[in-house]
Symmetry: C2
Subunit: 225 residues, 2 copies
């Protein structure tokens, strides 16, 4: 094994769930949990949990289970939560507002250091004590500060222009709330949050029975007009 080994995205996406649940156990003073119990509560097979964690080393002891606090700390390190991250927000709209007021992020070491806006009425004001700067000063700001993550909370038609600046200046990660799929840059990772897609998925789920019935009763063919 070497530093180039990659862990699959599916594994990574399960880690926050483990972390969240272990945190809940700590809150109620549970210090030890068997892989069977962990599996039942998370609705993930014990062997899947073992496999996931084995990407990072050996956790748990046969016949004992997991030490909750140690496993929590290890997963925290695996998720990079043992260090602070500087975040900027692009777009002082509703999403930007919601995120900056969400104290859970700050508690995990995600520190907001600036907001960037094009609206002259907002530039120079603050949200939750964080300064709102002119979007035109973005590149200068990034070059002068250590920006780990940029939150993209602007309409999709401005997203391309801004992401070019972020890629060019090697911002390490983009947390993308704009309604567009972004490709990762050479030195920039991307995590998309598509709220509209999520709502559409729910819409499908609640209408599924009717939808499936319609499509199985009706043979559809899209023809050339």
């Amino acid at each position: 094994m070497n530093g180039e080994k990659n862990v699959s995205l599916a594994v990574i996406k399960r880690l926050p769930k483990y972390y969240r649940y272990l945190g809940e156990l700590i809150d109620v003073d549970v210090s030890r949990i068997s892989s069977k119990e962990l599996s039942e509560r998370l609705n993930i097979t014990a062997s899947q949990i073992r496999q996931d964690l084995n990407n990072f080393g050996s956790f748990g002891l046969q016949g004992y289970g997991y030490n909750v606090e140690l496993l929590y700390e290890e997963i925290s390190r695996i998720l990079g939560l043992n260090k602070d991250h500087n975040i900027i927000i692009i777009g002082a709209g509703n999403i930007g507002h919601a995120l900056i007021n969400y104290s859970d992020f700050t508690n995990r070491g995600f520190k907001f250091i600036g907001i960037f806006e094009k609206d002259p009425n907002l530039i120079g004001t603050k949200i939750n004590n964080i300064d709102i700067y002119d979007i035109n000063t973005l590149e200068n700001f990034i070059q002068g500060k250590n920006v780990d993550i940029a939150v993209l909370a602007i309409p999709k038609n401005s997203a391309n222009y801004i992401t070019k600046i972020l890629y060019k200046n090697n911002v390490r990660g983009i947390w993308n709330f704009s309604n567009v799929d972004l490709k990762a840059g050479k030195n920039t990772k991307v995590e998309d949050v598509h709220l509209m897609d999520s709502l559409m998925t729910l819409s499908y789920k609640i209408n599924e029975k009717e939808i499936i019935e319609r499509y199985t009763n009706k043979k559809l063919l899209i023809t050339k007009r």
Copy 2:
């Protein structure tokens, strides 16, 4: 095939992406696209796209490709977007605010009909012209109106109590922004949006190289304390 047939969640989760991209093509007046082009733009194999759509019928013609507008309309129907959905929001905090001000939802037929809060200072006021009601009137409200979707935007310690009311009154779907995993109810589907998990996933991605190096150089064993 019958009405009980289920389509896998992975397929459903790709449909909004197809829908979004086809909408972009319509915006720039593209009327026809080959499965090859569609595949390249979406970074999904052509056979995967065909398989996904085949769950709902035959789309596209060999040698012609897809009629963009017709496929867009069909996917819109598959996602249940051909009809309106009534939405209530539980919690008038930052997330509630952000969602209610997000016009894309309204444009797709998702209609906000009420917000529920326990804060007496907010009850009786409005956000974006939608009334904020006392959370204690929630059950009455649901029984009197046709509520399709409830957005859960409250802290996790209140989530259980509220979801019981939603399940009991057969609200069709819960869009869950609370930091807890919800199980679907008998007649209630659930779609989770875990923003903290998403940010942690990004944190992992930007720190991955260092994390993998640390864990491959160091054999870890959690021992009994």
